[in-house]
């Protein structure tokens, strides 16, 4: 274990941003009507497929898919302070698990737990050795995973470099829905369940241990928290979310190819959660919108990532949260 305490002081310049608001322990609610908002958002989300034409609906579905992936990444990166560059690979493995099962004739409800299980196993296999050393080592190992997985998929998975088209879940006839509306509602249900589960994971002993480790690893260890076991668990959970999101991706697009799950996807996911805002649910949602509509990492997303890190380290969510204080200051 490193003896260096995790203060905000980096090796180097000694500049330190003062903690403000929530980050300084302010427990007042940032937004006073959480239940009303949640209810309105849920009602709006259910109404979307009946109001929106098919192609925009497809994009909204993809946003929900990426919300699930980013909720998982946020557990490790936002709450744990560890960096994963391998979530694109877990996403791809989940997507391919679902696609292979679907093409071999399995019913689609089976593919979701299967994708989660495979991702869980891989998350443990890669996470366990990687988190034993330091947060940095996890970033390096997961980067290597992200680079190694697409060629392996190309070689081993059916379809090879050409990819694998599969059937998407069809709506049961009694519902009277179109297939894309049905897929949207399925993805919405999974995303809602994933969101609820993640809230309890973050509030569980695992989530609190993770945050404690991030704040001060030495003190957390004295309290009986096992650093590498906690981090490995959190990483495996986070990989499960990426795998589930991959499965939902297969349901949504009906096509998987190795080129969709390269290291580019991992970087895009990380950029999304950083731009959205680490450690917050709204950060995952904003990040998912960013991931969906800013497809390949390019000049725009590179600049956005660098600027956000330099100017607004808590992302768009942090900016929005600071806005009332900022505007209030201007008032006489």
């Amino acid at each position: 274990m490193s003896a260096r305490p995790a203060t905000g002081l980096r090796a180097g310049t000694g500049h330190r941003r003062p903690a403000v608001g929530q980050y300084a322990g302010d427990r007042r609610r940032a937004w006073p009507y959480p239940r009303t908002t949640l209810g309105a958002a849920a009602a709006g989300a259910v109404a979307v497929p009946f109001l929106v034409p098919p192609y925009p609906l497809h994009q909204v579905t993809l946003v929900l898919v990426y919300v699930v992936a980013l909720l998982g990444l946020d557990l490790v990166t936002g709450h744990g302070g560890l960096i994963s560059l391998g979530h694109g690979a877990f996403f791809g493995v989940g997507a391919y698990t679902a696609a292979i099962l679907l093409s071999s004739g399995a019913p689609y409800p089976v593919t979701l737990p299967a994708a989660g299980l495979v991702a869980y196993g891989l998350g443990h296999a890669f996470g366990r050795p990687a988190v034993r050393l330091s947060g940095l080592y996890l970033a390096v190992v997961t980067f290597a995973v992200a680079v190694a997985v697409p060629p392996l998929i190309r070689r081993l998975a059916p379809g090879g470099a050409m990819g694998l088209p599969v059937r998407t879940p069809g709506a049961p006839s009694f519902t009277g829905l179109d297939d894309d509306q049905w897929v949207y509602l399925l993805v919405l249900a999974v995303a809602a369940a994933a969101f609820t589960l993640m809230r309890s994971v973050i509030r569980s002993s695992l989530g609190r241990a993770l945050v404690a480790l991030r704040a001060d690893a030495g003190a957390a260890e004295l309290l009986g928290i096992h650093p590498s076991a906690t981090r490995a668990h959190a990483f495996a959970w986070s990989a499960v979310y990426a795998g589930l999101a991959g499965c939902l991706f297969t349901w949504t697009t009906g096509f998987v190819a190795p080129e969709s799950f390269t290291v580019t996807l991992s970087i895009t996911l990380l950029a999304g959660i950083v731009i959205g805002g680490l450690g917050t649910v709204s950060g995952a949602v904003i990040g998912a919108v960013v991931v969906t509509f800013l497809p390949a990492p390019g000049l725009v997303s590179g600049l956005a990532l660098v600027l956000v890190l330099a100017v607004a380290p808590h992302g768009v969510t942090g900016l929005v949260r600071r806005a009332p204080a900022f505007l209030g200051r201007r008032r006489p």
Binding site: M1, A11, G14, G135, I267, L303, A310
Partner: protein, 270 residues
Amino acid sequence: MIGQIVHGLGTGAVYAALALALVLVHRFTGVVNFAQGELAMVSAYVAWQLVEAGLSYWAALPLTMAVAFAAGALAQRVVMRWAGDAALIMTIGLYVLVHALAAQIWTSALRTFPNPFPGGPLGVAGPLAVVAAVLALLYLVIRHSGAGLTLRAVAADPRAARLAGIRVGRVHALGWGLAAVAGAVSGVLVAPVVFLEPGMMGNALVSALAAAAAGGFVHPVAAVAGGLLIGVAETLAGTYLWADLRVVVPLAVLLALPAVRSGGLARVRA
């Protein structure tokens, strides 16, 4: 078999130079630079542009090194100084930015790069000699120059160095510049082997990360040795076992390292 090992050493020289750059940045500024490969790629493009403009290879080389030094120092001064606690994610932002800029300027067309070394097994001695020269040069600069002394002081304790009157920010820029020079060597070495294109350093970066991890991101000589070994292992695995196994070698090294030598790695800072 011997031929494959020699060929692997040539590849390993590329990884060794890039791993050396990673170790330098980590030692002097405490961050693993994921953008190192992209900076090296830009250096290779600069060398190519100079050769295209009519310079000879050996005249273009020192100019490229100077440009690489400036680019590395500039990246530190313009981008990295604002990173705060998120230095690692910032290097990924830099990676995306540099990659996109290179794709804008030079497009993603494949280009050929002149190879200054003769073909055949003897040609491998060239890259190895270059890497050895860079290692020796860096050793001299870091151990026996005033700038090297300030570098080591900042690496040992940035706050104490600042209190002693050292301009820590400038020294960080110097560290990034020196690392970029080592990275540029890897870029120029790899460019004749693979085609010149914006994505050419992707796989080399992973192998170099594994090599640098073998030295705990602090030991330059271990990183160079690791780079050569990984180069040989990748070539042998790719030739005799299975072509796609190449990409798995660095991953296997990274997963095995914590069990083998956690002592040297425990010093790695986040």
